[in-house]
């Protein structure tokens, strides 16, 4: 018998019934997913773009071992610092330079005593894999064959700041400034070289190592280049400070170090 209060066909209509049924299934699935994700801590990690591949690999093991879930936000460290200043949800930051953490520390946004420098890196000059241009030293970048050079935005993105510092030290910056294509982050500089839209780029050695579409023209010796340092720190406003501290300790440990080194990073200790 049809309920008189119901308009014709509403809940007895087979199409409507099947929609309700699928909605119920979707709801059950969603609640299930939500419940399982609540059991373990979710750790929001803001990490420098250059760490993308190494951290993703580390996360696979870490998620399994700790039961926590790492949620990454990869961007230029300048962008990350800015997001944290504006109150973005974050538990741990891994920056590609000390200056960004200095700024956050000054504003009281870091959990005191959690800051630690864990990694180092080196700069390389890369060219597209099929490039015929011969670059052996930084001064070759001034040659007429090189029309554009991609690097991280040189006033904010760490990789760009390092690259600029290196070129300035050699007295080449003024000369090359007109060729510079500044990018969002170091991976965008890498992509610009990969696509062949620029003749050369300055990126971290670790970025060059993950790409088959670029070749390293030369590596800046650690002694000649700027000091590159990757510090991490727990964010003061973290909702999971203990999980964040645990992750921070893990990233500075042997197993994580082995992965970082595989990707070309230099462990600090």
């Amino acid at each position: 018998m049809r309920d008189r209060n119901l308009p014709e066909g509403d809940f007895n209509n087979p199409a409507v019934k099947s929609i309700i049924r699928s909605l119920a299934v979707a709801l059950a699935l969603a609640t299930g997913l939500l419940a399982s994700s609540l059991r373990a801590a979710e750790v929001y990690v803001c990490a420098a773009a250059s760490l993308t591949d190494a951290l993703k690999e580390i996360a696979v093991t870490y998620d399994k071992e700790s039961g926590d879930t790492l949620i990454f936000n990869f961007a230029a460290s300048s962008v990350l610092a800015r997001q944290i200043e504006e109150g973005a949800p974050a538990d741990l930051i891994v920056s590609a330079d000390e200056a960004k953490l200095d700024a956050l520390e000054k504003k009281g946004l870091l959990l005191p005593g959690t800051r630690k420098s864990i990694l180092s890196n080196t700069l390389v000059v890369v060219v597209p894999a099929d490039s015929a241009i011969n670059i052996k030293a930084a001064r070759d970048l001034a040659g007429p064959d090189i029309k554009k050079i991609a690097l991280g935005e040189p006033s904010s993105v760490p990789a760009g700041i390092y690259a600029k510092a290196y070129l300035e030290k050699l007295g080449l910056w003024e000369q090359l400034a007109g060729k510079i294509v500044p990018t969002e982050n170091v991976r965008a500089a890498l992509a610009a070289v990969e696509s062949g839209n620029v003749e050369a780029g300055i990126v971290y050695k670790t970025d060059a190592m993950i790409s088959k579409k670029v070749k390293v023209a030369f590596e800046v010796p650690e002694s000649e280049g700027p000091k590159i340092s990757y510090p991490l720190a727990v964010i003061k406003e973290s909702k999971a400070p203990d999980a964040a501290k645990k992750l921070a300790a893990y990233l500075d440990s042997g197993p994580a170090g082995a992965v970082f080194e595989k990707y070309g990073f230099i462990m600090k200790h």
Partner: protein
């Protein structure tokens, strides 16, 4: 405001005016075609033209980057034939904002053409006028207000384009940095005051453009 910021404003105005002028003839011609009765492939062309309005601007940018890049079909052809580079230059900015504002010009102009009473064209035809003459002396003047409004809208869209531009032109200070790209950059650098100055300028310009286009359109409807 500093000279550097004025340079950004002038550059943005310059590329927006240039791109609007470049799309104007083709846009008006296409709008007229789309206002005509059914023809083969009309709905396909209609959809293609509307695409930049509805797909993410960065997706449009990606398509342009793949086409115009040094290894892209068009990009490599142009570089070999004319020796002109496109990506990461001001030309890429003009192309990106042109593509993004094209649908606005076409759609607004099309409505204007559709509003032209076909009987007037019919009368001109019976009086012996050729199709070209009918277009320039009857159709175009009657649709002019709508086309002007569409042009201004397209121009306003060009002023604010971000996603497609950053993909094909990057954000190179003094070379491809438009107002929208600079605002983004200034925020990244925590230079909020500079960002707000440019924000103010862009609000004023956009307000002016939209207000003028509304004014032009309203005037037409009051005449009827």
């Amino acid at each position: 405001m500093e000279n550097e910021n004025w340079q950004i404003v002038y550059f943005t105005l310059g590329v927006s005016i240039l791109s609007t002028l470049l799309i104007l003839p083709g846009g008006v011609a296409l709008a007229w075609l789309l206002a005509r009765p059914r023809w083969m492939g009309k709905s396909l062309v209609e959809t293609l033209v509307a695409l930049p309005l509805v797909i993410p601007p960065v997706a449009t940018g990606l398509i342009l980057l793949k086409l115009l890049g040094r290894r892209g079909v068009l990009g490599s052809f142009i570089e070999k034939t004319f020796g002109v580079e496109i990506v990461f230059t001001w030309r890429a900015v003009v192309i990106a904002i042109g593509v993004m504002s094209f649908p606005l010009l076409v759609r607004t102009s099309r409505v204007a053409f559709e509003g032209v009473n076909p009987r007037l064209e019919e009368i001109a035809r019976t009086l012996g006028a050729g199709e070209l003459r009918i277009f320039f002396t009857v159709t175009l003047p009657l649709a002019a207000r709508g086309i002007i409004a569409g042009t201004i809208l397209a121009f306003a869209r060009a002023l604010g384009e971000f996603g497609a531009t950053i993909m094909v032109a990057g954000n190179i200070p003094g070379k491809t940095s438009t107002i929208a790209l600079s605002i983004y950059q200034f925020v990244q650098l925590s230079q909020d005051s500079a960002a707000f100055k440019l924000l103010g300028v862009s609000v004023l310009m956009a307000f002016g453009a939209v207000w003028i286009s509304e004014f032009v359109l309203r005037k037409r409807s009051s005449i009827r």
